[in-house]
Amino acid sequence: MGRYVARRLLQMIPVVIGTTFIIYALVWALPGDPFAGRCGARPCPAAYVAEMTDKYNLDDPLPIAYLQYFGNLLTGDFGETFQGLSVGEELLRAYPTTVRLALVAIAFEILIGIGAGILAGLRRGSFLDNLVLVSTLVVVSIPVFVIGSVLQLFLGMRWGIFPATVGGDASLYNLILPGFVLAALSLAYVARLTRTSLAENRRADYVRTAVAKGMPQRRVIGIHAMRNSLIPVITFIGADFGALLGGAIVTEGIFNVPGVGNLIFRSITARDGVMVTGAVTVLVLVFLLVNLLVDLVYGWLDPRISHG
């Protein structure tokens, strides 16, 4: 187990280095003046350009500049933006909101996704099953920004059930609508995955054994079939959580949620390279770590998998 984790962590290193390098290269190594448009409409002051060039080793060849940047990252120094803001602090400020939004989304995936999947899986071929199949297909086909805009229009603006934008007050209630929009796509997948998995497991030999043992129907489905069916679903939700923790550019943008996605989007459009690389590094790390965690949980849920 310990060795498995160590091996996985080691394998992560090249991925993290590779990913951050690509981002770094894209942001910094493009043709043209890296300071163009950085300081508003005016060209940047010469002193500032010199300071930044020195600080981020922009005169060095790209790989060297990158290595120095990565070295700083290892010591926990994410650097400063051109406005002098600490990237680390900015990220810390934005993260709690994103985590909360992700949790709301996951709650929807569990409640609606698993719920609908179970109902459909238990009555395969029924009206309800077909309803779930069709509606998930429709949800999957509507891009998130469309779902977001439409729900914001009706639930937020027209009928005023939920606040149309979140702004500074990222309370759980305010995050319900964006959380749902964020969850919509995965929710559809969760429903379908649960349905297929449950329907498959219901036919499994060990479920028949449970019936033959004289177990009540509720126990046969609720314990014997369900426990197995939910393994892939939990894995999916876990991995999705890892992705959600990277922030949600579109959803956070539409509902004006002050999370990581918003921060990244602003930094990208402002061509704020330090912020972008820092933030992307963090989210790639979080994504990889959560995935490792999910794999460990998987091994715990399914005793046949061994990470020995």
Binding site: T19, L30, V140, S141, I249, V280, L288
Partner: protein, 308 residues
């Protein structure tokens, strides 16, 4: 970035390739397909959208530049079923003409990822060992960068303007999406090739001294391509959605290109008063994405005997 990830299929969902599944693609699968309502519906939609994309003039007598500011944001009427947008352009005409750019991006990106991912995946799966490791790790690195985030950074780094030729704008979006989307196809191709490679007839051909490239073209590709095609078809829907999302964020296609994403983006500011600007292009976009997903789904079901 979690939210706008295009609807891609999980690897596990791709049908397994064996010699038999490939054979069934020829006869049984086709027989099954034409009797499946989802296939018929999606095939009709597919033909419909492709026709619109190729010959928009068949569906409207106006051109997208026929705009009259005096009509700005007028709602649907018998004269203009979908109403007018903020520039006084006919929303119906724009929706019709928007199909071409969106579908072009989707199809070209799919071709791009098929080329990059298909070739690398085949090489990794066929040659194994160190080649496989290198390609797989490289895939991991790109896989770690969320599609939308990566595309955003690329497109912001290579900005275009109103004077950029239409084709260049489209190619940029295609390249950005393909550069980040290929690992998905690479992984599926790889595992498909791995399965075919161990099949008896391939082993036999190898024992008889069949060489690498010939072997790949004659045996490996034809037998492992089915699941790859399925995933690519479904992914087209995802790429169309991704293009729209990027355009919505203001970094994808740029006017004067006419696209659904751009129309929805413009609608954003007038959603409260002129929802028709949002709803019609959004519906067209969703329906088109749905068509590709359903088409891929139906083909996969027909190929996968387990699910019948």
């Amino acid at each position: 970035m979690a939210d706008p990830t295009p609807p891609v299929v999980a690897q596990a969902e791709a049908p397994e390739t064996t010699e038999t599944t490939v054979r069934t693609l020829g006869r049984d699968a086709w027989h099954d397909l034409v009797r499946k309502p989802t296939f018929v519906v999606s095939a009709v939609l597919f033909v419909f959208f492709v026709t619109i994309a190729i010959a928009p003039g068949l569906f409207t007598s106006l051109s997208p530049t026929d705009c009259d500011l005096a009509l700005s944001r007028q709602g649907p009427s018998s004269a203009a079923w979908f109403g007018y947008d903020n520039n006084g352009c006919d929303v119906y005409t724009h929706t019709i003409y928007g199909a071409r750019a969106s579908i072009m991006v989707g199809v070209l990106t799919a071709i791009g990822v098929l080329l990059i991912g298909g070739i690398t995946g085949t090489i990794a799966g066929f040659y194994g060992r160190a080649t496989d490791t290198v390609v797989s790790r490289l895939g991991d690195i790109f896989f770690g960068i969320p599609l939308l985030l990566g595309a955003l950074i690329v497109l912001v780094s290579f900005p275009g303007g109103a004077d950029t030729p239409e084709l260049v704008t489209i190619s940029k979006v295609v390249l950005a999406l393909a550069a980040l989307g290929w690992p998905q196809i690479m992984r599926i191709t790889r595992s498909s090739v791995l399965q075919v490679r161990s099949a008896d007839y391939v082993q036999a051909a190898r024992a008889l001294g069949a060489g690498g490239v010939r072997m790949i073209l004659k045996h490996i590709v034809p037998n492992s391509i089915a699941p790859v095609i399925v995933v690519a078809t479904i992914a087209i829907g995802g790429y169309i959605a991704a293009e729209a999302t990027l355009s919505f964020l203001g970094v994808g296609l740029q006017p004067p290109v006419v696209s659904w994403g751009l129309a929805i983006s413009r609608a954003q500011d007038y959603v409260r008063t002129s929802p028709h600007m949002l709803l019609f292009p959004a519906s067209a976009l969703s329906l088109c994405v749905l068509a590709f997903i359903m088409l891929g789904d139906a083909i996969r079901d027909a190929l996968d005997p387990k699910l019948r």
